[in-house]
């Protein structure tokens, strides 16, 4: 059984016991435990079920490469599935549940799949569930979906109870990995004065060396780490962050650091995760190496673990993974596990070494000296056991698996050699080279990821670079640190590599299958990908069926596509594929490494952007008043504008109708502050506006206003608004709400990139003003009540503007109308907007004043046949379609869009043109409906001859009114056309003039 040992556990604080629960059972652990070590200490070897076959799964690793030990934790707004037990630090009260089983972890109905695994080889689902057709959606897929997936989904009703944030950090050298290589590289880089950040994904510095032993500068690795850490911490130019993983390396030296601030202490204040956006001149990845499993039958049974993991649990956590551990290996490193177990007083019945007999290296000799039986040239034929290991059958590695001996044991420590962690090097295009001696891919220093200047910006130190001995790792790290500092523009200081001593090891023997001649039965039980249940036989089947590209094989078998992204399985799978194809491994190549290194929370990616600050809400100066007075908000770009002001007892529609009638009959106020206002000034301002607008603006008289249209260079109408000439050289251009920034940008673009020799300056002054449209027959009365300006028709004509004073406010008043009523738009400085609004409401009280919203605005303009950008236009409409030829200057030789409007399709008489539409029965046409013509087109679609662009119920006309674009529309006045609704009804409408209200235009001119 697995248990807590009386001694050992360098990371534990045994004075602080912690209570936690697993599947409802309360268990004990210590501060410093991971959930994995604590579970093992309580003999909880079975931790989950695999994805496809629901096989029993126990922890196989001790770090972030773990594919099996996944649990769900937390409750309510803190629930989270798929938490890796090996990277979860234990805390008081932790509640974990195992996943992907029913009804329980021990008795899982889904395990039936394992019995049927013969019928479920790689890609079986592509070959079946084809008939009958409807069964996929209704039968097969629901069953498959239910069986698939790992953890439960968080509840829809629970919002994430934690917060997250981002942080921008800049440094010269970023070191990812806080093992001895990372620390030494950081020291070498920092000596130059370079600003260095060290990121370590676990809570502890030192990495593997502190477990594996060896001496550095005459000290233990542990003492070396303590000393160098203190040294680095004392330096002003060095920052060390633990619990921060280098998640991804991106273009131009951008690196994501995923800092888990309180996963280990959920009750702490502050954000849960912080996503660092680090921009580093140079990044060193000192990310170490990951041990590979060996592929033998039954290598997935709980209790079969990586040799290094078993060693970690003993040394770091004082936990034995079993009383009797058989070690199986193709290299010397696993002997360290055997020795560590022996030192801990545990039994190691045998070391099964696939390498042929030969000279004993230091470690082999030490193991033998401890009395451990070493069986060279042997392998495991199969592991016995179900929910945990009970023994192993031994065979000759060279044979086909004839059992020579059975050895009872309750744990198996396996080692297939080590693979450098090259993920971060590869994320942004770093290339790999095959290292024969270690049988692994390592970074090719000649083909690094390239930065903004074409320079390599990532280098690799230590075991991640393919180094295997402590001495070489530290020497490599020292060089790497110095070189990185130099590349970042610093002068490297002479830094001596520490002198390290460790065991001299015998060469590894690549072993991709155990035994090498294993037959189908063994191969179909030899797991490559533990989580996704991909076995040696599956990869071989993929090759047999022509999925010979590594990407094909991966996708066909799902190898490496589980939540560990193939950290344990990729190289083993590649080797099997290469062997099947009779080609060397480097020719097969690797799949692409994609960020993140291990999964990172969606919450951290979103950062602060949630709730109130999910996106900016732009507010006008009168926002609070609107809010307090019943505004039903409409998002318009980032602005919020009142759609209508709903009074008690009203529906939104009621409110709109009331506002619309009142504005025509009495007095309406509209907050028009969001409309864009752009100052255009300079000797060439008139010439410039002539190019921007379809109209002639240069002839506009000072004091006057003119309605203008703007088209894109591609000819389409993009914006409209009133232009006022302020003085000889200055114009103020109004834009739509959405147009303020885009039209300002449009102007700057043309001024900077095409007509840069023209003397024009523009400034966006939209927000300088609160602007109120004072609209209705009583508008003049209201403003006169404020007093201060002569507003008579003679003194202040239609389409004029004046600066003046109203009610003590300095104002700029425009006598313009988008409603067809007598109307003034009054601009005051934004900080006086609310006061001015209040003053208008006060003087309007006796005049029937009511504020109105955007929907009323729409109806008022539609009653007048005024087009609305975004309603009558949609990016495909030119002014000519809208009967706006009067606003297109014939005199100008050029304006933006003019050439485009000369193209064949733009001058075609087949273009749909603007008309008014009236239903016969006064009902309202469905918005967006299309009118049909005769028959169908070549693709069998009904022929369409027009569409509704705006449709409203007009309370003033007491009928539905609509505008639309219709083929030959203006020539078909009085004709009735049919608009099929989506409700199954046909709507008939008569083609009429779009001006429904006050066609003579007398109202605004009083």
């Amino acid at each position: 059984m697995s248990t807590r040992l009386a001694t050992g556990g360098r990371l534990l604080n045994k004075s602080k016991a912690l209570s936690f629960s697993f599947n409802g059972t309360t268990l004990k652990g210590f501060e410093g435990d991971t959930l994995a070590s604590a579970l093992l200490a309580n003999d909880r070897v079975l931790m989950g079920r695999s994805f496809k076959y629901h096989r029993p799964r126990g922890v196989v690793a001790s770090g972030s490469e773990e594919p099996n030990g996944l649990v769900q934790m937390g409750e309510g707004g803190k629930f989270e599935p798929n938490q890796r037990v090996t990277t979860t630090e234990l805390f008081e009260g932790l509640k974990a549940k195992s996943q992907n089983h029913w009804p329980s972890l021990e008795y899982d109905v889904g395990a039936l799949n394992a019995k049927l695994s013969r019928f479920m080889p790689a890609g079986f689902y592509y070959k079946m569930f084809i008939h009958p057709r409807s069964f996929w959606k209704h039968v097969y897929e629901p069953i498959i979906r239910h069986a698939a997936g790992l953890g439960a989904a968080p509840k829809a009703t629970d919002r994430d109870a934690d917060t997250y944030e981002h942080f921008y950090a800049f440094c010269d050298v970023l070191v990812i990995g806080g093992g001895v290589a990372g620390l030494q590289a950081a020291k070498a880089a920092a000596a130059s004065g370079a600003k260095v950040i060290v990121a370590e994904q676990t809570a502890h510095l030192g990495g593997r060396a502190v477990v594996d032993g060896g001496t550095i500068d005459g000290q233990t690795a542990e003492d070396f780490v303590t000393a160098i850490t203190a040294e680095l911490e004392a330096m002003d130019n060095v920052t060390i962050r633990t619990r921060m993983m280098g998640a991804g390396v991106y273009d131009h030296g951008y690196v994501l650091g995923y800092e888990r601030l309180k996963d280990h202490a959920p009750e702490m204040a502050g954000p849960r995760h912080r996503l660092w956006r680090i921009r580093a001149a140079q990044t060193i990845t000192a990310t170490g190496a990951i041990e590979r499993p060996l592929s033998f039958a039954g290598n997935d049974i709980p209790g079969v673990m990586l040799a290094s993991a078993i060693r970690d649990y003993v040394v770091n956590y004082g936990v034995s993974s079993g009383d009797r551990t058989v070690v199986v290996t193709n290299n010397d490193d696993a002997y360290r596990t055997a020795i560590a177990l022996k030192h801990a007083g545990l039994d190691v019945p045998a070391i099964i070494d696939a390498r042929p007999a030969g000279d004993d290296s230091d470690l082999i000799a030490r193991a033998k000296a401890l009395g451990i039986r070493v069986m060279m040239g042997h392998g495991i034929a199969t592991v016995q056991g179900g929910k945990r290991v009970t023994g192993v059958e031994i065979c000759a590695q060279a044979g086909e698996g004839a059992v020579l001996e059975e050895i009872a044991c309750d744990a198996v420590a396996m080692s297939g050699g080590w693979s450098p962690v090259v993920h971060l090097w590869s994320h942004c295009g770093g290339k790999l080279t095959w290292d024969e001696s270690q049988a692994s891919f390592r970074p090719d220093p000649n083909r690094p990821p390239l930065g903004d200047k074409g320079q390599g910006f990532v280098s690799v130190a230590g075991a991640a670079n393919g180094e295997t001995t402590l001495a070489a790792i530290l020497a490599d790290a020292t060089d790497c640190g110095k070189e990185a500092a130099k590349a970042a523009g610093f002068k490297a200081k002479a830094t001596k590599a520490p002198v390290a001593e460790d065991a001299v090891e015998r060469a590894l023997l690549p072993v991709w299958l155990m035994p090498q001649g294993a037959g189908y039965k063994l191969r179909s039980k030899a797991w490559l990908d533990y989580q996704n249940d991909v076995k040696v036989s599956d990869v071989q089947l993929a090759a047999q069926e022509g999925f010979t590209s590594v990407e094909h094989a991966k996708r066909y078998t799902t190898l490496g596509m589980a939540t560990d992204q193939g950290k344990l399985s990729n190289i083993n799978g590649l080797a099997i594929l290469s062997d099947s194809l009779n080609q060397p491994i480097p020719q097969t190549g690797t799949t692409t490494f994609r960020p993140p290194y291990t999964p990172i929370s969606m919450g951290s990616i979103g950062g602060e952007a949630r709730g109130d600050v999910f996106q900016p809400i732009r507010r006008t100066p009168m926002y609070d008043w609107h809010e307090a007075n019943g505004a039903d908000w409409e998002p318009v770009g980032q602005w919020r504008r009142p759609y209508a002001y709903v009074q008690s007892g009203e529906t939104v529609h009621d409110a709109v109708m009331r506002e619309t009638k009142n504005t025509r009959e009495n007095l309406g106020l509209l907050d028009a502050s969001t409309l864009g206002k752009i100052i255009v000034k300079g000797p060439d301002a008139g010439k410039f506006l002539d190019m921007l607008y379809t109209n002639m603006m240069s002839t506009l008289k000072v004091g006057k206003c003119r309605y203008g249209l703007m088209c894109s260079e591609n000819g389409f109408l993009i914006d409209d608004g009133v232009v006022a000439r302020i003085d000889d050289e200055t114009f103020l251009c109004h834009t739509t709400t959405g147009g303020a920034e885009t039209i300002h940008g449009h102007m700057e673009e043309w001024l900077q990139t095409e007509w840069w020799d023209w003397n024009v300056y523009v400034a966006n002054v939209t927000e300088q003003y609160a602007q109120v449209a004072v609209v209705g027959p009583k508008a003049r009365k209201a403003l006169e009540a404020l007093g201060g300006m002569d507003l008579s028709a003679d003194a202040f004509g239609f389409m004029e503007w004046q600066d003046g004073s109203l009610g003590g406010f300095d104002v700029r008043a425009y006598r313009i109308s988008f409603s067809g009523e007598l109307s003034y738009e009054i601009a005051v400085p934004a900080s006086q907007g609310q006061a001015f609004w209040d003053a208008l409401m006060a003087v309007g009280a006796d005049l029937g004043v009511m504020p109105y919203g955007t929907e009323c605005l729409h109806i008022l303009r539609a009653e007048k046949g005024f087009i609305m950008i975004g309603d009558e236009t949609d990016g495909t409409v030119i002014p000519q379609d809208l009967g706006l030829n009067w606003a297109i200057s014939k005199k100008k030789t050029d304006f933006l869009g003019k050439r485009a409007q000369q193209r064949e399709h733009m001058v075609s008489d087949q273009r749909w043109k603007l008309v008014g539409l009236e239903t016969i029965d006064k009902s309202t046409l469905p918005d967006g409906a299309y009118a049909v013509g005769e028959g169908t087109n070549a693709n069998g679609q009904r022929v369409m001859i027009g569409r509704v662009t705006s449709s409203y119920h007009s309370p003033n006309l007491e009928r539905g009114i609509a505008m639309g674009l219709v083929l030959h529309g203006p020539d078909r006045m009085g004709e009735v056309i049919t608009f099929p609704g989506t409700d199954g009804k046909d709507y008939e409408a008569k083609i009429v003039s779009p001006v429904f209200y006050d066609p003579e235009g007398e109202k605004p001119n009083v």
Binding site: T163, E165, H166, F167, Y168, A169, F170, K195, D236, T239, M268, A269, G270, P271, R274, R277, R279, E608, A609, D612, V613, Q615, P616, I617, R618, R619, T620, P621, W639, I679, K681, G682, P683, N759, Y761, V762, A763, V765, T766, E767, Q768, Y769, G808, P829, A830, S831, Q832, Q834, A835
Partner: protein
Amino acid sequence: MSNLISALDKATDNSGIAKIEEIGLQGMITLRGDLSKAAVKKAATSVTGVEMPTLGHANHDGASGLCWMSTDELLVLCPYDQVADTLAKMHTALGKAHALAVDVSDARASLRVSGPNAREVMAKLAPVDLSPEAFKPGMFRRTRMAQVAAAFWMVDDATFQIVCFRSNAQYVFDLLKVAAQNGSEVGFFK
């Protein structure tokens, strides 16, 4: 006028790891022109009493100052109640030079973040190196804060002054509050 209201009416928040305030109305004038021309320089310096700022910098004297906005643009700071006078003086100084000077005081909001953690709070929102060696009082930076454009400078080593669009003031204030939430010290800037 007594009815002047700045974007957030001088809201403050001191509940987190830095103090956040909207500081009320600040006079601001956009000046666009050829910054090498004597008339433009004079218009800027004569009304503020500070020297022309170099690229990426701002010169200040209390509520008056000049911020380098772009190759042909300065932000002229002056007391809010002196904007009209200042503009008039600038127009006189500019004479016939081709330039644009326009009041934008009400188009903007001014916020401050202060305290020992001010740099960290800002560094959560702006993609700028805000370490003490990289960003110092006297510098001026136009950039973005989370999802909106903003500009800022340091009044002293522990205080940022931020200018954003008035309509975004509440968003920026709320952002800063989130970024300054308790327990969120980073400890990166030494």
